[in-house]
């Protein structure tokens, strides 16, 4: 029995394997669905909701929703683009995103999505929350001002590195990333070869002493929008 199924994304017929998520199938078909918490090789998490699509008219996270034969998926519609834009704007005002001096600028997925969605200024009031920095580790630091709670580091450390260095604590606006150690990052066994160090979509977990190495104009999203690498497949 064939495991290939077909379904529709924005009036285009897409082939997929049974068990794939809508996001995976779309990627293979060269259709970009914006996402922040989803990342190849990481367990789908469904927290950021940026990849929200309409499946037979109902909103679903494309990163967690499996494909099914004949489903009709809406992705690149004005309504969904506006919802995504609002989510990205909320992430910007909920944290302290000072792009002008951030080491991740130009390579940041949050910033790149804002560029792609055409955000000039968020429609919501800035919160300017007080967030802690942990620079205790020799080679790695955490800047919670930029954290968007995507849990990529949590999943990478747990599933790929087998270490469980990161975990969330708190709820609601107080939710924040914490380390699995007595107090601080330097108390953990994280090191530079860990996958968890490089999965952060923003500048919340960074390597020390390599900032600004790539000049402006040569960074990942300086010339081409995020997602164009999938669309040109």
């Amino acid at each position: 029995m064939s495991t290939t199924i077909t379904f529709i994304i924005d009036e285009v017929e897409v082939k997929a394997q049974k068990g794939q998520t809508i996001l995976e199938a779309a990627d293979e078909a060269g259709i970009y669905i914006p996402r922040l918490c989803a990342m190849k090789d990481l367990t789908p998490f469904g927290s950021c909701r940026v990849c929200t699509v309409l499946v037979n008219g109902r909103p679903q996270a494309a990163c967690t929703q499996p494909v099914a034969p004949g489903i009709v998926v809406e992705n690149n519609t004005e309504k969904l683009l506006n919802i995504r834009k609002n989510i990205i704007e909320m992430l910007f005002v909920e944290g302290n995103h000072f792009c002008m001096f951030c080491e991740k600028s130009g390579n940041c997925e949050l910033q790149a999505l804002a560029y792609r969605l055409g955000i000039d200024a968020p429609a919501f009031p800035y919160q300017f929350p007080k967030r802690e920095i942990d620079a205790t580790h020799r080679d790695i630091f955490i800047d919670r001002n930029r954290c968007i709670l995507c849990a990529r580091c949590v999943r990478a450390s747990r599933d790929l590195d087998g270490k469980n260095v990161f975990q969330f604590i708190g709820r609601g606006p107080e939710k924040r990333i914490a380390v699995n150690a007595q107090i601080k990052l330097s108390d953990t066994d994280i090191n530079l070869t860990d996958k968890a160090v490089d999965v952060c979509p923003v500048g919340a977990i960074l390597r020390k002493r390599v900032g600004y190495k790539v000049p402006v104009g040569q960074r990942l999203y300086d010339h081409k929008p995020i997602g164009s690498e999938i669309e040109t497949r």
Binding site: N96, F98, C99, M100, Y115, A121, F128, D222, P225
Partner: protein, 181 residues
């Protein structure tokens, strides 16, 4: 026909956005053919002399004077544009926003490691504009018609937007021209 007028100001900014405007190089001659400058550091006119088509505002609002100038711009300009990250999101001055104002002032004038201030007091001369409790982006103080992010926005970005507005054309910038850094 009379040329449309443009006004510019720098509130809680560093004048970097104005420098970027000067960076349009020889196109500044074309700009002078297209517009007259009203209140602006470019020609050093201190007060509005009349109605302006476009007001370019660099910097956010950090003190009461910034708010008054911004309100004056809103009153005199048909189109008010936030130019740069300070105007659109507060920028570097907004880094003080998660420290209480009293603590900021005490660090700057009393407790800071390099402070020499025998009076031991925070300056409180009536000539000095009072600081606001935090730094506000312009659109949280008055209505803003367009936002141009960037630190600073590039000269090409400013040029393209000004030319589009002055010719009453829609603003359609290439991907490379909108950046937050």
């Amino acid at each position: 026909m009379e040329k449309p007028k443009v006004a510019t100001t720098s509130l809680a900014g560093c004048f970097g956005c104005h420098m970027s405007l000067l960076d349009i190089d020889d196109r500044i001659l074309k700009l002078i053919e297209l517009v007259d400058f009203d209140k602006s550091p470019v020609d050093d006119i201190k007060e509005f002399t009349g109605r302006c088509l476009v007001g370019l505002v660099e910097g956010g609002c950090a003190n009461e004077e910034n708010v008054r100038v911004l309100q004056d711009f809103r009153k005199h300009c048909d189109l008010l544009i936030s130019v740069g990250d300070c105007a659109t999101m507060g920028g570097l001055p907004a880094m003080r926003n998660n420290v209480p104002l009293k603590e900021c002032l005490e660090e700057a004038f009393i407790n800071g490691p390099s402070v020499y201030n025998p009076s031991g007091k925070v300056p409180n001369d009536p000539e000095i504009p009072l600081l606001l409790n935090q730094v506000y982006p312009c659109h949280e103080v008055v209505k803003i018609d367009y936002h141009i992010p960037g630190c600073p926005p590039s000269a090409d970005t400013l040029w393209e937007i000004l030319v589009a507005l002055l010719n009453n054309k829609p603003i359609d910038l290439p991907y490379e021209l909108i950046k937050y850094d």
